[in-house]
Amino acid sequence: MSDTLARPAPSTTPSRGKVLTVRSRSPFRWVLRVVVIAYLFLLVIWPVALVAKATFSQGLAPVLDALQQPEVVFAFKLTLSVAFWAVLINTAFGIVISLLLVRYTFPGRRALSAMIDVPLSVSPIVVGLALLLVYSGRTGWMGRALESAGLQIIYAPPGMIMATAFVSLPLVIRELVPVLTEIGTEQEQAARSLGASPLQSFLRITLPAIKWALLYGVVLSLARSLGEFGAVKIVSGGVAMRTQTATLLVEERYQQFGVENTITAYTASFILALIAVLALVVVTSLRPKENQP
């Protein structure tokens, strides 16, 4: 950098105005723009559009038929209830752990803050295997004891909720930590000094301040939870009408023969994709545009 800047400028140094004009007209910018748009078109836009097209390739009737199959209805209901519990657990856990990370010092704080992110980068298959090793009723560390106490975790909804909660664990926390750091504790301290209880000051001061961040975190967790596949596949067993979620149904139906099964797979995919895109649009349009130049 220094040698570039120290080099004597050539006599044809353009003025500032000229630089900007040259830039805006440069072919380089056009090339880059076209390359980026073509890349995204081929990798994301066109393939996603084709799935929508394939779903309705036989018209609307087979899609509506697919939606009325008991297996499909069951799979979506199960997916919703598993996602609901996982998001609920992650929200409660996320609020408490974000408050702890931002406002308190304790041994292992930095390690915990890093460990929170591990679920984001660890393979869903590894997550499933890890839960299986501990909670399996047959071979698990704790599974046998829990099973004899009447609580089945693996191949049952509790295990599916745990797997889903694991993979979407950091989403709420990552939304809350920056906002909690930003707002500080002055207002809460003022409320406390005026006689508010800790619960009151949380409900009246902190919660309103973090509500948008919390909403984004919940929407993202929900989208991630509804779409979880690998971890749930291992811990659920994927039995139709018992532990088969919507993503597992897509896999099973796509691999079976027949147009009807394919349309069912596409229909379930279409709905899952629609939910994901809607969640994105909601979060993107609600998020304050803080970095607007």
Binding site: R16, F93, T105, R110, L120, S123, L129, L131, F166, L272
Partner: protein, 291 residues
């Protein structure tokens, strides 16, 4: 403009405050634990241990249960070694593509103006939000047997590459974008006015500023790549020695009730995942010190 859904996920909010928040960050006050907070910490740590820590430790314990020789044999069995090689090489390749294309996309999203740019912002996040099994179906529709392009890459290594490319798309873009937004164009104009060519300006002014963000994004996309499973199920055919990746290998060990072998392969993925988190932590703390 960068109102992205994924942005806070790829930045590390705890460690690297964006420069415009720096002042407030320094005023942050933390206190020692109160009894109520201690109880909260106890309960959350219990849940965190039951959900994350104990199961992940169980993988390491199970992997070592057969001794070093069994561990090594599991990893070097021809089929597993082939799967690990394929996974790592494709993930590295995809990471390289992401470094170039992710930076280019971030550049266009920040510096260029054109109709429909807002739409591209949402498009970038789609691979993150889309269920992975649907992602496989999506890619299959353009690059599979009924492709309108006339290519059929299903069940080939190209399919593995494409699946990795799809699911890792947002990471470099979303780490580079906020840094690029903070860069002052005046510095580049100064360089240009002193006679630096576009290339020199890019190499000696822009690239050094972006390097930490690109590294973080690359680490994230590598981690995401090697751990990918869902999008490959329908797309790659999972053919042994050809398109079978590490995650699929673990799953078939689990289905064959060979938990020790499964845990051995899983331990490799787990170590890489933790290493990536550590690298990100180091990078973001270094950046936070220097701004």
């Amino acid at each position: 403009m960068t109102a992205s859904a994924v942005a806070p996920l790829v930045e590390r909010p705890d460690a690297a405050p964006s420069p415009n928040r720096r002042g407030r960050w320094r005023r942050r006050r933390t206190t020692a634990l109160t009894p109520v907070a201690g109880l909260g910490l106890g309960i959350t740590m219990l849940w965190f241990s039951l959900l994350v820590l104990i199961p992940l430790i169980a993988i390491l314990v199970q992997a070592s249960s057969g001794g070093w020789q069994a561990y090594w044999d599991a990893l070097t069995s021809p089929q597993t070694a082939a799967a690990l090689r394929l996974t790592v090489s494709q993930a590295l390749l995809v990471t390289l593509v992401n470094i170039v294309m992710g930076t280019a996309i971030a550049w266009v999203l920040v510096r260029d103006r054109f109709w429909g740019k807002q739409f591209l912002e949402v498009v970038i996040d789609i691979p993150f939000a889309l269920p992975t099994i649907v992602a496989g179906l999506v890619l299959l529709s353009l690059y599979g047997p009924s492709s309108p392009l006339g290519v059929d890459w299903a069940n080939t290594r190209v399919a593995v590459f494409l699946a990795f490319l799809f699911v890792t798309l947002p990471f470099v873009v979303r780490t580079v974008q906020p840094v690029l937004l903070e860069l002052e164009p005046e510095v580049e104009e100064a360089a240009a006015s002193l006679g630096a060519s576009r290339y020199v300006t890019f190499r000696s002014i822009i690239l050094p500023a972006l390097a930490p963000a690109i590294t973080s994004g690359a680490a994230l996309s590598f981690a995401r790549g090697i751990s990918e499973y869902g999008s490959l199920v329908l797309l790659s055919g999972n053919l042994p020695y050809s398109t079978e990746v590490a995650s699929v290998r673990i799953l078939s060990y689990v289905e064959g009730d060979k938990l020790t072998e499964a845990a051995a392969v899983a331990s490799i993925l787990l170590v890489v995942a933790v290493l990536v988190i550590v690298v990100l932590d180091i990078i973001s703390r270094r950046v936070a010190r220097h701004v």
